[in-house]
């Protein structure tokens, strides 16, 4: 049991990221039921109050919904789930480009490097 957590970010947000990742990867499907707060707390080795915050945050982001008396479910709004995936892609690309610019690689060069790396020569 027990995940490792970074010091610089609240634990509840790190679990939000983890669950969001699993949804985008298709490890958790639209409409799927999440573990109860207590079960998730035991699995992650964290305080249940932390998981409660994680679920509230996911709910605020419309990624999950809580049905009274039934539990917490991954949203079955597929359009929204696809958007979630695209947002994540955007974020990764943005940070990649930013880092490349920081070390002086301009956009044209960057495209060439990527193509070369992926084995798609010009």
């Amino acid at each position: 049991m027990g995940e490792e957590f970074q010091a610089s970010k609240p634990i509840y947000m790190q679990i939000v990221d983890k669950i969001t990742n699993e949804i985008v990867q298709g490890k958790k499907l639209p409409g799927e039921k999440l573990l109860s707060v207590r079960e998730m707390a035991v699995q992650m080795g964290v305080n249940p109050n932390t998981i409660q915050r994680t679920y509230s945050e996911l709910e605020r982001l419309n990624i999950v919904e809580t049905r009274r008396g039934q539990g917490t479910f991954v949203s079955d709004n597929t359009a929204l789930m696809e958007e979630l995936g695209r947002n994540m892609q955007d974020e990764i690309i943005k940070s990649f480009i930013q880092k490349m610019e920081e070390i002086g690689v301009d956009k044209r060069h960057l495209v060439r490097l990527l193509q070369k790396y992926l084995g798609e020569g010009e």
Binding site: M1, E3, S8, R38, G45, N47, N49, T50, R53
Partner: protein, 234 residues
């Protein structure tokens, strides 16, 4: 359920154990009482369970002063080993159950099963790790308002530590109980805590909500605690 310490001081002879402690604890939360050996952690837990009494100030449980009778509402895991070696694990459960009206035998047998403790085994044949687990079972099986754990991990290997953390998360009744863990082994309980309280030389040097520490200062409890210790000159 509430625990309030108001201006509490306690000395043993000429040695000051606690100075001007002001703290309150609420149900549904997990508190870490963090400090090096000899900082006053154990004294504070003993004050809260009515084993010692303050020289000054008050210790209140549900708005009543803590007395020796308060042990009916407080489960306390001490650093000491308090088993009769001649008893089996099962007899130990029966004995503790006979001493505390709130002892939940059904919960105890579930915990024994989950922690792989054999009821027929003699206590003196248990490994150190299993004795540690048995101590925890005896504490968690009581349906009390407060659970106080004094160094629950000391001398236990990582597997046993994990199983203890697991049982805590499974069996604490968050609607009704408060959990206070005194330890100097911060890494083990870091992700369990709502609040961290640092204690040095008998004084509370800082108190923080764990997630706030990460959010606002980017610090884990361990990093925070080390910074405090440096500030104090240790």
């Amino acid at each position: 359920m509430s625990f309030v310490l108001n201006n509490v001081s306690k000395s043993y002879g000429k040695t000051t154990a606690l100075k001007n402690i002001n703290l309150s604890f609420e149900k549904g939360r997990i508190y870490g009482l963090l400090g090096p050996n000899g900082s006053g952690k154990s004294t504070m837990l003993k004050l809260m369970t009515g084993l010692v009494f303050p020289d000054e100030g008050t210790v209140m449980l549900n708005e009543e002063p803590v007395t020796r009778k308060s042990s009916e509402q407080v489960a306390f895991l001490t650093e000491l080993d308090m088993f009769y070696d001649g008893f089996t694990v099962g007899e130990t459960v029966d004995y503790v159950a006979s001493q505390f009206a709130d002892f939940n035998v059904e919960k105890a047998s579930r915990l024994l099963r989950e922690l792989n403790l054999d009821s027929k085994k003699k206590v003196n044949s248990l490994s150190k790790g299993n004795r540690g687990r048995l101590k925890l079972v005896m504490t968690l099986a009581r349906d009390t308002a407060a659970i106080l754990l004094d160094e629950p991990f000391s001398g236990l290997d990582p597997m046993v530590r994990d199983s203890i953390v697991n049982s805590l998360l499974k069996y604490i009744d968050f609607e009704n109980q408060v959990l206070i863990i005194a330890t100097h082994e911060i890494t083990e309980i870091e992700s369990l805590l709502d609040e961290a309280i640092a204690i040095h030389y008998g004084e509370i040097t800082a108190k923080e909500a764990v997630e706030t520490l990460r959010e606002e200062q980017g610090l884990s409890v361990l990093q925070w605690f080390k910074q405090l210790s440096i500030g104090i000159g240790e």
